[in-house]
Every structure is written in structure tokens, then in C-alpha cells.
């Protein structure tokens, strides 16, 4: 029965891992291309509403974001649980939007300014009152291109 006993072959049992770095680098490249850097800490909880007819934002670099929602737990002691507006890295009031828009507009190049989009990312349980205020303020400083952030249904 000696012919059934396999001779242990050391060379074949090793998997060649030389291409592993290449594979991992490929995944890395994929993530670097497909993903955008996290710009700021979210200080409000935003669950965007669902919609079906959504369009993609063409140029991410031309957009500025306004987050509206309930503050996250660690800020609730200070700011309560009512909906708050987050601009850049702090809670702001509606009146600050004017300065915010002006600053964002300033940071764009001359020919890009008309295409600036303000993306409103609001929690689905927000009341429209605060959003209407934001919209009115945006109209007042003539930032007319807006986008209501939504998730794909």
C-alpha cells in the first residue's frame, strides 16, 4: 500500500504572496479615488430623507454644506435637542449664513462663482420652519442654486 502514501511536497503547499501588495494597493487606489475626505466633524445628527428622483452633484468642489439637525449627544447639554444649524465647525444661527455664503463664494475662483451650490443636508425630522428661514436667507444673499440632500430609496 505504499503507493498511497503521499510524499509531502513542501514547495507546492506555499502560496505565493508576492502579488498581495499589488492587490492591496489596488483596493487602496479604489478608495482614494472614490471617496472624499472628511472635512469636518458632524455635530448634528442627520438622517437624510429618502427620494427616488435624485440627481448627482456634478462638482463637489463648488458646493458648500449646511447641516441642520439635532445636536449629537455630547453637545446636547449645551445646545439642547432642538434643530440646530451647523456651518463649518460650529453651531450658528440663520443670520450667520450671510457671512458663511460670502466666505464660501470668496474661496471660489471668479468663473466658478455663479455655479456655487449650497447643499442643504437636513434631518428628515426637522421642521420646515428652520429650513424656510435658511432658504429665505440664501435668497437674500442670492445663493440661488441649492440642493436638498437625499438618500436613494
Amino acid at each position: 500500500m505504499a503507493k498511497f502514501i503521499k510524499k509531502k511536497d513542501d514547495d507546492a503547499s506555499k502560496i505565493n504572496t508576492a502579488s498581495l501588495p499589488d492587490i492591496v494597493f489596488m483596493i487602496l487606489m479604489f478608495f482614494m479615488v472614490s471617496v472624499s475626505m472628511r472635512k469636518m466633524d458632524r455635530m448634528v445628527i442627520v438622517t437624510m430623507p429618502q427620494a427616488t428622483e435624485i440627481a448627482k452633484l456634478e462638482r463637489k468642489d463648488l458646493s458648500s454644506y449646511i447641516y441642520i439637525g439635532t445636536p449629537v449627544l455630547q453637545y446636547q447639554g449645551l445646545h439642547g435637542t432642538d434643530s440646530q444649524i451647523q456651518l463649518n465647525d460650529s453651531f450658528r444661527s440663520v443670520d450667520d449664513i450671510r457671512d458663511f455664503v460670502a466666505a464660501e463664494r470668496e474661496s471660489l475662483s471668479e468663473q466658478d462663482r455663479p455655479f456655487m451650490t449650497v447643499s442643504i443636508k437636513a434631518d428628515e425630522n426637522t421642521r420646515m420652519g428652520i429650513i424656510t428661514d435658511v432658504k429665505q436667507e440664501l435668497r437674500r444673499c442670492s445663493a440661488l442654486k441649492i440642493m436638498y440632500g437625499a438618500r436613494k430609496k
Binding site: A18, V35, S36, A55, S119, R127, T132, L144, K145, K152
Partner: protein, 192 residues
Amino acid sequence: MASKKTPDINGGSMADIAFLMLIFFLMVSTMDSEEGLSRRLPPMPTEDQKVENQKVKQRNIIQVRISSNDKIFAGNEIIDVSQLKDKITEFLTNPNEDPLLPEKKIETIEGFGDYPVSKGVISLQNDRGTSYRKYIEVQNELVKAVNLLRDDFAQHEYGKKYARLDEEKQLIVRKAVPQSISEAEPKDVKKK
């Protein structure tokens, strides 16, 4: 003479380094997809502009109102979200030339010819207490109705869906089926 052979570099740790970078990028990045409903706000009316009220005939406007307890009124009746799309479609197409529904104006579209364009305007109003979810839901239905009409038109004229047309033809379709949703000045919609 020194040997020509360069010493082997150990490539075994390359995978570890790559993994490290991968993890780093996973941590600092967001997969946030920038998607949503694009809108153009009407410019703020100046003082002297306010006097001259936009004259839109009653039949040409449909008021969609969302009350503070998320009830939807289209025209003057309470309506469910699911019915809204059909209501808007009927309003915009006016298939039977109903005198109560919006009139059509023959307009010459460059590169296409004459086409009766509906003069209907959807006026969307909401209360301060309306929830954002409902608002987006209604917005979505309105866009859906318009998109359906555009698809119909594109299919009929070019045999393709709107999204598959080239830029020029999309413009024609957009002119033929305008998306005229007006987000009216904020007004309190009373509970009824």
C-alpha cells in the same frame, strides 16, 4: 571586483504597509454620496417689484400645500402622496383640454419646431411645522411627474429615454416640458 548582484530587498512587508495606508484612508474618508434634489430658488423680489404681482391665471396654477400636520392639499382637496403624481401629470398635460386645467401656448422651440407648452405652474407651499421628510417626499413626487412627462416626450419624439438623449435634445425636451415648480413665499398654512 565587487559582485554585480544587488542585494534582494525583502518585499514581504510591502503588504503590511499597503494595508496600513488602506486602513488610514478608510478612517479619514467618507463615502458620502452627494445626491439630492436640485432646485433653483427664485431671486428675492426687490421693494418696487412687489407691487407688480405676477399675474398667473387661476387655471394655470395648482397649489400644493403641506399643512403642519403633514396633510397634503392639492388644489383644495386633501390628497394622498401616492395620488399626487397622477394629479400633477393630469394638470400638466391637460389631455382633454379642460377649461379648468392650464392652457397651452404654442411655442417655437429651436431645433424642434412648434409645440404646445403647458403654462401650468405648480406652487408648493408649506407650513413652518411641516416635517422635512414630507416636504422632500412631495418634492420628489413633483419631480417624478415632470420626469415622467419628459420621458414620455423623449420616447415619443426620439424613441429614447430622456436621460439617454444628448445634451441638445435634452434641452429641447426641457423646453417642451418645463419643470415649473415655484416654492412660494413662506406662508402659514392653517390647519383645516
